[in-house]
Symmetry: C2
Subunit: 621 residues, 2 copies
């Protein structure tokens, strides 16, 4: 199969999945009766149930298991917070406008489309040109506005719909802006991530945790991104649910007490070096990845392992899940290390979880902006002797020598690092003066011996004050769910072989409805048994669907296979019923009184279908 | 105790609750390190857990129990949807501005404050003036902008902070406005309620339900209200969680199959007539309220009963919960009936749940605006004969007679109701002509026999097409939680009687943490037992807090009583432990291996403390 056929096959598969999802209301394009809004989707009843199940499992797997502090902050966020975080300045995409109609496009998308189409369809491309276009595709994320503009002009790219000329690229901030209160003087934004709500609460949360590190806070909530022109259906949306963890840790000790519980796990990893040298992702035990220094530290490694367990238990195919390390140019300057859990679907490898060691960046940024110290203390069990550098500028002498520039010189002296200060001390002692470069004046001045005293003093310290590092696993819940749909979907022929039926092989944990209850034929006795079973299912907290229509049993099975319901109870007598498993289509016969607890034990994961299969008589329909 | 003392006592109680809530991070003023934003609050760890518990119970009690269709729609909403719903035009409060500083105030709040202060503090008020001010307070919600402005001017009310003059009142729309996409031509709003997302999906949901009525859809999510100047702390906020149900029902049959399950419930109701005639709320069985026509219909009554069960099971005090019917002037013109579940707290009686029969208003509004018919069909089991009125204007004759006005006359004829049309038919047959008032022309014209034919025809119909009525229970989750805090809070003296300790008597269902685990003294053996118990609690899904500090056991109990933790496990041997109940402070001795399942059975509500108390030896510390 060549690339074009592959692409066609992927497209057909995606269409089959998406059609089923939309027909069965897993999702609905939002405000459909008003012709919708690009990038906004509703979860319909089964989608909503899947989402609730995924979030409940997330809470169990992360928050409860690790005793995390869960918080819930508003979406509306004042500007000052997002100025501190850098979003007001940097959360942008480069945009071009159709110069006649004003329609907006993402500049990199247009360039990407152009290169891809050329490479796919232009059979006369020279080797040189081919290499150039491939290089452009690889560099796409690194281009500045000017470089993108030059390429677009150079290739003569025009607006896709009208062929009109395009404006130069300029940055568009992706936050939805609004105004808080009626005055119009308090700008606000809909948060682009939930993390900032946690950072600004660090001090209170640290106190709540008994002033101890490490600890993690977590938040599940809506986030917003005003995309320029959303594409990729359910994967690139303007409003989405994030589940984020901020794990605060001493930068000098990023070990994790439970690392041994995950260290043997082995899964596809794609380290930076392997990407650069053109190798494939490979299976590496996470313990080795940490000990070999591929993953920066144990805590980061621990979360990578936990994320792997989370995704695979949800039903993500392990062979289509990899952890890809950010390349140097992808990573923020402050980050210590960063890995994305990527899931392969019909759109390619999609980033679904980001796991980053963001160092002290976020807490420092809010400390600077707010003036509130977001720091931790380590109390020493006994005082420690430390050498401290003491720099004391003599302001009077400096004032006489530098007049109006005195303040800048004082600040520069105080800001000297240990090496520079000790060099100056040596010069002053040897020569009575020293040359000193003052950045803020951009010149070199002469410092005399009487202008500054420099010494090292031994001090007893009772504690150490520091800004914790943040390790952040951040989950795009909607993307995970979409990939789960693709990984769970398959078709099989019906009994007569004349029709393909759709099935979602959701694990019980995820399935929107855990079981169905069908009377085999319409009759009052069976209906009563069905209702009795339904009641006992509600009592044990199992979501079910009862179908008392006269539709053929085969059709009813097919309908619920399409919703991914794992078990179907068919009432064909008043004392016992059959239970059918979705994927194997095997059936067993169970007493009416036992059936609810049996269903519960399978859907809670206490037993598997195979565990119970041999305990009951099988039934063949 | 007089009114002022009462008010002081309420204020002191509120302060005690709020201090505890804030100190223990049940909530945190959002963005506190930046001095916060009025009307925005975070849920800290215990608050977040309480909220999750309340929502989980809501899902169990309503969605699962009634097989509702849960959906999840975006917060960002395009303008067209909120134009159809009326929010763009009418979701406003009247505002006045300080004419010098521009500070904004709610006009009715200033007037209310003025009247209240006068009534409380001015001892020289004439009886006439007193009556006037009381009348103003009663009418506050009904005043137009002009009336409010006249009162403010008349009383000489100025800006509270500066005493500057105030502008005339003008409407301020309470929706947070934003722009969807980069073009600036698609205005959007943050939804003020979740309901609209359900209404626009009616067609798909009806289909999903097998084209059958009644059915209910439900949604939990954030809603937004850009308050002019939020007061009342946690009760009036700019972003909040709503849980809404839209129950769609045939307007000709609002009976409910499960009404008998609630009809015997008796609780405080406050019908319109009792309010108008100055009576008190009284206990009425909901079955009687429906049969006597106090509550409009069974379905509305059913939901009132279910809401009562929901709130009282959460721990809301039944004596401080009442269902108040809207007065005629409070109710929208289209509503058939409307009741608020009001909970009494230190702020007075607070609306926490609204339960309204909104008739066909919402679906009709979206049908009109979108052009998509949001209707239901009732297929008749056999065709029914119905008499249909047929009006056929003869356009040629009408054109000759009325020329340019022909269109208006035709439309007016076609719009005639049955009575008017049959009257005209009689006139035409008796006299050959009839007088006819055409509204759009504002004149009376003469219709001749040859200009229109009017008849009644018998037709067989196979179905009936109609717009369903909507019965909407809408829950303000944050308000319910705040009232729950107040109703659960009490203080008691410590052992020595020298200090008051705070306790939240949350039912296990609501408690943020279900139990604590304490080693009695710091020693490795006990710590290991404690960790073993902790692990077994996680395994059965119980949230716990482990405290291995050396703090005295009394202090540790006090700390967790303040979080409302129902049970405390103290490890004082390696084989058995004590379990203490929060409110009674009773203790029993339980084997280490049994303790997790015992805690689970109490916190799941399978057993009560009293059920298990006699089964185990008591322990006195």
């Amino acid at each position: 199969m060549d690339a074009a056929q592959e692409a066609q096959k992927r497209e057909a598969f995606r269409q089959a999945v998406v059609n089923t999802l939309e027909r069965r209301l897993f999702y609905i394009p939002s405000f459909k009766i008003y012709r919708g809004v690009a990038g906004l989707y509703d979860y319909g009843p089964p989608g909503c149930a899947v989402k609730a199940n995924v979030l409940a499992f997330w809470r169990q797997h992360f928050v409860l298991e690790e005793n995390m502090l869960e918080v819930d902050c508003p979406c509306v966020t004042p500007e000052v917070v997002l100025k501190a975080s850098g979003h007001v300045e940097k959360f942008t995409d480069l945009m071009v406008k159709d110069e006649k109609t004003g329609t907006c496009y993402r500049a990199d998308h247009l360039l990407k489309d152009y290169c891809k189409e050329k490479l796919e369809k232009d059979t006369n491309l020279s080797a040189e040109k081919t290499a150039e276009l491939k290089h452009v595709l690889a560099m796409l994320d690194d281009f500045s506005a000017e470089e993108l503009g030059a390429k677009i002009k150079g290739y003569g790219i025009t607006a896709p719909d009208t062929k009109n000329a395009l404006s130069d690229p300029y940055p568009f901030n992706l936050m939805f802006q609004t105004s808080i209160g009626p005055s119009g003087i308090s700008p606000g934004y809909m948060r682009p991530e939930t993390a900032q709500g946690i950072f600004v609460n660090f001090k209170d949360l640290y106190y709540y945790n008994g002033n101890k590190l490490p600890f993690a806070a977590a938040q599940i909530g809506q986030a917003f991104r005003n995309e320029i022109s959303p594409r990729q259906g359910l994967l690139r949306v303007r409003e989405f649910t994030l589940a984020e963890i901020e794990h605060f840790v001493d930068p000098d000790d990023k070990s994790h007490p439970k690392f041994s519980e995950v260290s043997k796990l082995e899964f596809l990893m794609f380290p930076r070096e392997d990407q650069v040298s053109g190798r494939q992702a490979r299976r590496i035990p996470i313990g080795e990845a940490v000990s070999q220094g591929i993953v920066n530290n144990e805590t980061l490694g621990y979360f990578i392992g936990r994320v792997y367990l989370f995704l695979s238990q949800l039903g993500i195919d392990k062979d289509r899940l990899r952890f890809r390390q950010h390349l140097a140019n992808e990573m923020a300057h402050y980050a210590a290390d960063c890995w994305d859990a990527e899931i392969e679907c019909s759109y390619g490898w999609i980033e679904c979880v980001g796991i980053a060691d963001r160092s002290a960046y976020d807490l420092r940024a809010h400390t600077d902006k707010s003036g509130v110290a977001l720091v931790a203390q380590e109390k020493f069990s006994e005082p420690r002797e430390v050498e401290k550098l003491i720099i004391t500028p003599v302001k009077k002498e400096l004032g006489l020598a530098f007049k109006g520039n005195q303040k800048m010189v004082v600040e520069a002296l105080e800001a000297m690092g240990e090496k520079e200060a000790m060099g100056m001390k040596a010069d002053l002692e040897a020569k009575g003066e020293a040359e000193f470069h003052v950045c803020t004046l951009d010149k070199v001045v002469t410092i005399k011996k009487n202008m500054v005293s420099i010494s090292k003093e031994k001090k007893k310290e009772h504690q150490r004050v520091f800004t914790p590092s943040v390790i952040e696993p951040s989950f795009g819940i909607g993307r995970i769910i979409y990939c789960l749909y693709e990984h769970s979907f398959y078709t099989r022929a019906n009994k007569d072989g004349d029709e393909q039926l759709n099935v979602f092989r959701f694990p019980p944990l995820v399935a929107p409805i855990k079981c169905t209850v069908f009377p085999l034929v319409q009759n009052q006795q069976y209906e009563e048994v069905a209702k009795k079973i339904a009641k006992s299912l509600t009592a044990v907290g199992i979501s079910y669907k009862i179908d008392i229509t006269g539709t053929s049993i085969g059709k009813r099975y097919a309908r619920t296979d399409e919703l991914g319901v794992p078990l179907a109870i068919t009432v064909d007598s008043t004392t016992s019923v059959t239970v059918r498993e979705r994927d194997s289509k095997q059936q067993i016969r169970v007493n009416v009184d036992e059936v609810a607890s049996l269903v519960k034990s399978v859907t809670d994961g206490v037993s598997t279908w195979n565990d119970i299969l041999w305990k009951y008589p099988t039934h063949s329909s």
